[in-house]
């Protein structure tokens, strides 16, 4: 009798084990989506809704970074250039041709095309060299893009940036909120499918042991290229969403800080867990707004980033799995 009870308990525990729990079904995602879907019913404040969409968009951006950092094991310092490309492409096209749906679609198509081309070129140039040099080359290219955006004032208006009108249907705050939520869900589904696909599995193998992967007959460079293209395209889509949400684009979208934001979100939430990046986005974005508000009390709160920097260093040193990874490990220990 006791044994059966134990077995049942074990089964239940098994079910609650985060690894199984996340991997075995999509229902955690469904519950999450349901919760997020009712947010607008509880508040109609534009600021709150904006905060949530910001979390989703940066979450998508951070998840795309996780494909590189967590699933392929490469550190890029140039990820913002994809984000910025998407944002600028959208801003410039809509500003110059008018806020219509078809122009937005044109921007999306153009962005995807450009992101593929850029990631292939940079990847091809930089993926052959050691990881530290890869980080350096990507940083250098990101600087180039940043400076181009700054100097090409006739189109970008430099560091001051420019604002533009979004297509009419996106001006409704609810439409926009649900649109971005749908975008997030779509990206999560696609990326999950990607990391569980044969290619995604090979990427994880490369992260674990590049040489062994090569000696299984996999062309490592090609797989890394695929990874940078997927990450680049998703990041540029996040850039589009960002531009639409802000209705304003400036060089900030290209800055290295944006890449570092993604690095921070991914690492704090948990690299290699996908959802960690989303969690990280939530934490940093909330902190930025909440602590930023406290700056009125004391200017030190404007420097809230120090806390995240320290937290990040702690995580790299002592909790390499970030929040979700550590949580998983503790759970697994408890059960076994």
């Amino acid at each position: 009798m006791d044994e059966i009870a134990n077995l049942k308990l074990l089964k239940k525990a098994e079910w609650l084990r985060p690894g199984k729990f996340l991997a075995s079904s999509s229902w955690v995602l469904m519950v999450l989506v349901l919760i997020l879907a009712v947010v607008p019913l509880m508040t109609s404040s534009r600021t709150t809704l904006n905060l949530w969409t910001e979390i989703y968009i940066l979450g998508v951006f951070a998840m795309s970074y996780d494909i590189l950092l967590g699933y392929t094991g490469i550190v890029s310092f140039g990820h913002a250039l994809f984000f910025g490309t998407g944002a600028y492409m959208t801003g410039i096209i809509i500003k110059n041709t008018g806020p219509t749906l078809s122009n937005l679609l044109l921007a999306v198509v153009g962005t995807i095309f450009l992101a593929v081309v850029i990631s292939l070129i940079i990847g091809y140039l930089s993926l052959r060299v050691k990881d530290v040099y890869y980080a350096m080359i990507t940083l250098a290219f990101a600087e180039l893009f940043f400076i181009s955006a700054e100097k090409w004032r006739s189109v970008t208006n430099g560091a001051d940036g420019f604002s533009f009108q979004v297509p009419a249907f996106l001006q409704d705050r609810y439409v926009f909120y649900y649109g971005i939520l749908a975008f997030l869900v779509l990206v999560v589904l696609l990326l999950r499918r990607f990391i569980d696909s044969p290619v995604g599995r090979v990427l994880q193998a490369i992260r674990e042991n590049e040489k062994r992967a090569e000696f299984l007959g996999y062309d490592v460079l090609k797989f890394k290229l695929i990874s940078t293209v997927v990450a680049g395209v998703v990041a540029s889509l996040a850039g589009i969403a960002w531009a639409l949400q802000q209705r304003f684009v400036s060089t900030g979208v290209m800055a290295v800080d944006k890449t570092i934001d993604a690095l921070l979100m991914t690492t704090i939430g948990g690299a290699g867990t996908l959802y960690g990046a989303l969690l990280g986005s939530g934490l940093t974005t909330l902190a930025k707004h909440r602590l930023g508000d406290l700056a009125k009390i004391h200017p030190i709160f404007e420097r809230w980033y120090i806390i995240f920097g320290l937290l990040y260093i702690m995580i790299v040193l002592f909790f390499p799995g970030g929040i979700i990874g550590t949580w998983k490990r503790i759970w697994n220990k408890k059960i076994t």
Partner: protein, 290 residues
């Protein structure tokens, strides 16, 4: 002709300041294999603390001294508390030094404020000489002079002193250095501190040269230092010096003809060097994946 002379002088002067930043970076990478993404932050801390002291004492020598001490203190602290935990783990080194950069930059903004601060050239070094129609800016000559002195000093330390010998030996085979009874970890701390001190010196020198300091100057100059280190070859001081001059000159010449392309030329240069000769033009060892 005088434009050419002026450009060359200005390029050499910029090159020498980049060299101060790059030489430390290069030594640290050559000896310990650590690519320090926080190097530019230490450079910036040097600049800010130097300027802060200068405003209070009006003494540029004090500024240099305090700036360097600040840099060395930060370098020592960083090595002791954080860097030494990640020796041999490349990805973690990149991640951790990036975190360090973030924290150092934010603390800097908290201490000195996030705004641009204007800096004048000290009166003694201000102004220029005129030589047969060519105007020579005194401060540029000064930076070139300091750069050359530092390059010579580092070179002499590396080739003539016991510590320098240990460093050169350590670049080749750390295990053997230990077997000879030398505590290499101590040497690591020393080199890290020394490299940080040089970066900070670069910061103090840079401030009057560009006329202002701002919290973004670290990353911008670090980028140039990376390029120099790649072109010059990791761990090679003379390589760093030559590459710094090359990068400095390439920067000003392109800036004269096509200002937007200055960085692009250097980045392209670096990429080409990495793809063709990953060990750098003057360096040993390989950078390519094996």
């Amino acid at each position: 002709m005088d434009i050419f002379m002026n450009l060359t002088l200005s390029g050499l002067s910029t090159g020498m300041m980049i060299f101060l930043l790059a030489s430390g970076l290069s030594l640290i990478f050559g000896l310990m294999g650590v690519l320090n993404f926080a190097h530019g932050s230490i450079f910036m801390w040097g600049a800010y603390s130097g300027v802060w002291i200068y405003f209070r004492t009006q003494s540029f020598i004090m500024a240099i001294l305090v700036g360097m001490i600040m840099g060395m203190a930060l370098g020592w602290l960083a090595e002791r508390t954080i860097i030494r935990r990640v020796y041999g783990r490349h990805i973690d080194q990149i991640l951790i030094t990036t975190g360090l950069m973030l924290v150092l930059n934010e603390v800097l903004k908290a201490v000195f404020g996030p705004n641009i601060i204007a800096v004048q050239i000290p009166p003694l070094l201000a102004g220029s000489w005129e030589l047969g129609g060519i105007i020579i800016v005194k401060y540029r000559v000064f930076t070139i002079f300091v750069g050359l002195v530092v390059a010579a000093a580092v070179h002499l330390i590396l080739t003539r002193t016991r510590v320098g010998m240990i460093v050169r030996a350590g670049v080749q085979n750390q295990e053997m250095v230990q077997v000879l009874g030398i505590n290499i970890r101590q040497v690591f701390s020393l080199v890290f501190m020394f490299g940080a001190g040089l970066a900070a010196l670069g910061g103090v020198m840079m401030a009057p040269a560009i006329g202002s300091i701002n919290p973004n100057m670290g990353l911008e100059n670090q980028m140039l230092a990376f390029i120099v280190v790649v072109i010059g070859g990791m761990g090679s001081i003379l390589g760093s010096a030559l590459a710094s001059v090359l990068v400095g000159l390439a920067g000003v010449y392109t800036a004269w003809f096509l200002p937007e392309a200055a960085l692009a030329v250097n980045v392209l240069f670096m990429t080409v060097v990495l793809l063709i000769k990953p060990s750098g033009l003057f360096g040993m060892g390989g950078g390519r994946n094996s």
